[in-house]
Amino acid sequence: MTDQFMMGLSVVLQPNVLMYAFFGVFLGQVIGVLPGVGAITAISLLLPVTFYLDPTSSVILLAGIYYGSQYGGAIASILLNLPGTPSSVVTCLEGYPLAQSGRAGFALLVTALSSFVGSMIGVATVVLAAIPMAALALKFGAPEYTMLVALGLVAASLISSGSHLRAFSMALVGIALGMIGADPNTGQYRFVATDALADGISLVSLAMGLFGISEIIRNAGNTDTHRKKINLSYKDIFPNKAELRSMITPVGRGASIGAFFGALPGTGAAIASFMAYAVERRFSRTPEKFGKGHLPGLCAPEASNNAAAQTSFIPTLTLGVPGDAVMALIIGALILNGIVPGPRLIVDQPTLFWGVIASFFVGNIILLIINIPLIGLWIRLLSIPYNKLYPAIILLICVGVYSHRNSVTDVVLTLVFGLVGYVMKRFQFEPAPVLLGFVLGPMLEENFRRTMLLYGGDFSVFVTRPISAILVGCGVALLVFTLISSFKSYRKASKVDEENDEGASI
């Protein structure tokens, strides 16, 4: 294994290949910062270029854009509360409060470090366990996916900092929003009020609206033009020893979760970061600190989604089946170069296979190196007074959402969700579970209905199939645990209230 990896490394370290790896990750990083302009746009714009490259360089370039954009996605989330992907939604939850409290540089650095470690664990998983992971992924059929997604939704009720009832109702609203458009099993249109909704709401509109626009509405009228001064000193940006130590376990846990989920075709990074966040919160001794810029809540999901970004290449490279649109594009690039990706790729094209994997290793080092000096630049953004900054953010949102699928309806919807998000915040509803429900809902419905179709409406498959049974067990345990702890905290809260009431009456 290590020999082959070394051979791959020697491929990547050729100057011209290295250059493509560098361009890929750099471009991905830049694209990732722009909300709405995702990796898919960048990769499809660059696809024709790859016609003139050799297959290894093509894939190294395109893959670099993909995982580079994962790094970039965190930046807009932390600085501006603008999440472009489901995984960066979670980054907003802790990253934005940190930036608001003047620690943007710290948040960015922690993110870069966690991402780097997460990616490396992901790469190691690919190198050491690609084949067994792929075999495990194939064991996931419709019942397993159903239960996995259900588990993710239970986790959603743990994400909000407010009440579980409110969080869960928002996850349901997210599922409902995800139903707009064509029904996955029959193709019938549901809740399609106008033709423009026939393909459903785009995730970008929903995320930009609920997070970005609503935040702007709350702050645009702010007449205070003096922005907090930015701290650029080494001490302010670099985590101290205690902070570094407190990151180790969350990063490790997050990366393991991400490495596992990433290998499942189609589910990937979205669930991974939500799960990592939920796990941190569940096992934290100080769950009340979450949502206010708590370190483990920032670094675990970041490690997770980057690990997932790497392991999501497993099904693509070992089985030749793309898990999502980005992977489909990369496979397309291979086919156009006359290479047919499939289970035989690792045997027939070892240079390509190991070269690409080694490029992940090198690419992530490049990313870390270009990221750290950029932090200083990024946080200068925040020194711009908000009344100058927000018009530019509006612009980024509008153009980003519009260019996503050239649809003005998407832009209008973004505004609508901005208003909805504004109202929700006033009523103490959190937007993050909506996003989770929106991403997971269609998967839940698709797989649940497929299970029923495959097994003739028999619910027992969920517990007779081993992997599914384990997932059911986890879900039930999580649910019971949550109920007990929320009951306890409710009792505690009502006690405090009683005391307060007494105090007031005296």
Binding site: V49, L53, G187, D195, D199, I335
Partner: protein
């Protein structure tokens, strides 16, 4: 700028021949509309063609995506655009399927378009897990013996792949359980994991699995054996004599295009398809490069609309 730079690196060598001085027709950029999102097959084919066409016509051919409703959003847009040759469309086999599947399309799938040329044609293959069935006859016999027990995974209700499975059912009398997935890759994954027994899809998706020894390709949906796989029997010669399913990609424009412009476009499309590199890549995608006349393309679409209308009616798939 980065993109331009990147493009410039390898392209310098290609820039030797400067474009011919344009006549009056393409004096500005041409929008090449696709009805599907970035990254699909359609997107790839459009971008493949756009490069040589840009060189040929001397004006940029810009691929623009208007995804939605199985390509109908883009078709509607193109059918209502000015027939000046500056808006053209990449059409796919789904154009004929949509005509059968949608209750009311806001355009006429035949008369609202000028058909320029087909680009590539490709059949579908019937695949099973390696060793599961001896032959296509064996598969149909087993499906008939135990109705509803053989599961076909397909890439979505109303996809050409789905309708091909329904047509196979209609023509042979076998009874399958049709399981929808999101895209062909997901169906292939499901068959690798043993969740379904049959997948009908394109060669580009199925061949790699056959080469790895995971799948058998039992039959091809074209009337005759397909050019690049003479060892795979056709459905027509084995179990269903009338089946002849060939999907395609092509170029269309709004109806009422000036014949001179139409001619110029067709020449550019044909030249692009005949560019050896493009030919090679179209074949790589599993399609047979097939430049055609407008009439040929229109006649083929007309035939396919009537086939699919019949299949949709039979299968009980609800129209949208």
């Amino acid at each position: 700028m980065l993109k331009k730079l990147m493009r410039a690196l390898p392209v310098v060598a290609m820039m030797s021949g400067t474009a011919l001085a344009a006549d009056e027709y393409p004096d500005r950029s041409i929008r090449f509309m696709i009805g599907f999102g970035a990254g699909g097959n359609a997107d790839t084919v459009a971008r493949l063609l756009a490069e040589p066409m840009t060189k040929d016509l001397g004006q940029p051919v810009v691929v623009e995506s208007k995804p939605g409703a199985g390509g109908n959003v883009a078709s509607d847009f193109v059918s209502k655009s000015d027939p000046d040759g500056y808006t053209i469309q990449l059409m796919v086999g789904g154009h004929a399927v949509s005509a059968a599947l949608y209750n009311s399309q806001p355009f006429d799938p035949l008369n609202d378009f000028t058909f320029i040329s087909t680009i590539g044609q490709f059949p579908f293959f019937v695949a099973t897990r390696a060793g599961a069935y001896e032959s296509i006859e064996d598969l149909i016999a087993k499906a008939k013996a135990a109705p509803g027990s053989v599961k076909i995974g397909h890439s979505g209700v109303g996809s050409t792949q789905n309708l091909s499975g329904e047509l196979l059912e209609l023509e042979t009398g076998a009874d399958f359980l049709h399981i929808p997935y999101k895209g062909g890759a997901a169906a292939v994954t499901a068959m690798l994991g043993g969740e379904v027994d049959v997948v009908i899809d394109t060669g580009s998706i199925l061949r790699p699995q056959k080469e790895a020894g995971a799948f058998d390709l039992l039959a091809v949906t074209s009337k005759k054996r397909w050019i690049d796989s003479p060892d795979i029997p056709s459905l027509a010669e084995t179990v269903a004599p009338t089946i002849d399913i060939i999907s395609w990609t092509g170029v269309g424009a709004p109806a009422g295009l000036d014949p001179a412009v139409e001619d110029k476009l067709r020449k550019a499309v044909h030249a692009a398809i005949n560019d050896p590199q493009v030919t090679e890549r179209i074949s790589g995608l599993g399609a047979w490069p097939s430049p055609s006349s407008g009439q040929e393309m229109q006649a083929m679409i007309d035939r396919q609309i009537s086939t699919w209308t019949k299949v949709v009616e039979f299968s009980g798939i609800e129209k949208r």
